[in-house]
Subunit: 253 residues, 3 copies
């Protein structure tokens, strides 16, 4: 897996795939910076008028529901429809699913109505999406990734998605296989947008690797190692954030 | 005060209270990161549809008027009404009051119409809110905190709010008492959102301490010491920002 | 030019001109922090209701089309009209022009309908704006600055604007003169918003220097040297971003 991940990393840095992000307002800056550090080319949009133009030049589209409202949902639906038509892969990040029925219902609608390639979330979110969750507290997870395994399998089997569950243990699940990684750092959940950025990085890997499971696994593995690398130089979440962006730029496995 | 502050800090780090932020687009990232560094759990929203769900699990609600418009004001009014009904404390940050009549009028409407626990602003903003200000320049203060003392007392007596005035001297005022602190760093106003984040930190302290005056004073004291700690390691506003987030995570008084 | 730039820098740090930014959601935080580091006073707004109040106290208005939609375009048109009436200089940053027809058409409408002082963009954007471009990939440039020279001259002659083209070579063009600088760092395009922030810095320089060509050239020269200074301390885009904000604060030429 290390060798494959490295090959994909090189491909991203050479091809600089354009990744379109329909994403929340909180972590836009971090997501854009992370994609640039990685070597991909981020673009953000909030206009229906340019959706087709942008998707036609994008190689992955990220739908992140972190700060959703009616007009954003409408925009995302148009983007999903267009991406499906043009066969551009869709990554869904169901931020905070379970914290409000609005988030849960919206996320469910997206996996029902469109062909999503990969869903990336924390354990609470994946469990909520599968209808198995207890109480979610806001946007942070209260469950371990392995607890969400059955939920992820349910989603994979019923909606044909690959699921990436992030946490202390990272788990990648599709209908036929599972991968687990133990990389990463306890600093990662102390920086806002580390989940959002991973979803975008998964998109960048899928842009250069057709196999969704491999793309999600390679992105997750790489991301975790970047977390470990950054943690060695950090004295808190502020210095970690900076060191993590550096790691996305410098790390070779 | 130091001992009390330390006890509240420990409580925040243990209980990780959910703080809901209806806030401006400029400093969302910094506010979310600051709350995470502190040990609280931030959530942001822009949808009426999920306001009740989110407020019912939140322990403080921050209303920050930094980039207001009609739909945002409507959302904030709903949030204030719901928070008052559910007895969740409201913190108001009247960013840039005095710079435009729109900001002044909106802030006044909020303190009139809803039960706000704590108003946090710089001297210019507090003076404008009390109708005593001269010219405000944008969102930065042009007056010293102590000049705003009479204005803060007026607001406390007429609207039942606790007022936290931030500046070189930090002043906490309610109808019956006053506290002053001289902590902090000249770097703080050179980083956007240090005021916004303080409002959110005040909310996190109020989430674990019922007495609003004590919560506002403890948050302000802690915040100022974090500023001093960060300034020792900073060579400019960029490194200060990073060191300040680290300090929120590491500082014990 | 070095001496003139230094004098303007001192003037900005003394006068702290208010710079109003109607700008995209992705890089707002970085733009506000950069202006504060420089010594200017940033304000952001998204409300028509306060446009006249804010523009009347601003000394430059930045229009940045990074995340445009219909309501934002309407807001910008009002701001441009008001700024023209009050003779406050307008800086236009046509982010991603060429990547979608929506961006191209909107940018063209602004330079047609209003008196823009300075247009700042990368080579792809300037070429697209002049109708000379091939394919633009998202918001990153695929052409060298010098390739955009004819396009910039065309814009300068037909719309009376000064054009600042950013890239490895920075080129400043108006109808009668050209300046070129070779400062900067390869790290700059790896941090989101370095272009947006330069547009705002150009605005801050124009706030204290009436001659638009001199203002754009001085801002660009200073900015490039800050990039070089920051690069010496950076190990990747994360540490570069932090060091760059420090440089805006500390650099004296």
């Amino acid at each position: 897996m290390i060798e494959k991940t490295n090959a994909l990393l090189t491909k991203i840095r050479q091809e600089k795939p354009l990744v379109l992000n329909l994403t929340n307002y909180v972590t836009m800056d971090f997501v854009a910076n992370g994609l640039l550090s990685l070597g991909a080319s981020p673009v953000m949009s909030k206009a229906e008028q340019e959706m087709e133009d942008l998707i036609s030049i994008a190689r992955a589209v990220i739908i992140n529901l972190g700060t959703l409202d009616e007009s954003f949902i409408k925009l995302c639906a148009l983007a999903c429809k267009t991406a499906n038509q043009l066969a551009i892969p869709l990554i869904l990040d169901p931020v905070g699913v379970g914290a409000s029925r609005y988030r849960t219902n919206t996320s469910l609608k997206f996996i029902h109505d469109f062909k999503i390639a990969i869903v990336r979330g924390n354990a609470s979110e994946i469990m909520s999406l599968a209808g198995a969750a207890g109480v979610t507290k806001g946007v942070d997870s209260t469950a371990a990734s392995t607890e969400a395994l059955a939920s992820a399998t349910f989603l994979a089997e019923n909606y044909g998605v690959t699921v990436a569950i992030s946490g202390k243990t990272d788990v990648i699940v599709d209908a036929k296989q599972t991968a687990q990684f133990e990389y990463g750092s306890a600093m990662m959940p102390r920086v806002t947008g580390t989940g959002c950025l991973l979803s975008a990085v998964v998109g960048a890997f899928h842009a250069v690797e057709q196999d969704r499971f491999v793309a999600a696994a390679a992105a997750t593995l790489f991301y975790g190692i970047c977390g470990e690398t950054a943690a060695k130089q950090a004295t808190g979440p502020g210095s970690f954030r900076s060191a993590f962006l550096d790691a996305l730029y410098t790390v070779v496995l």
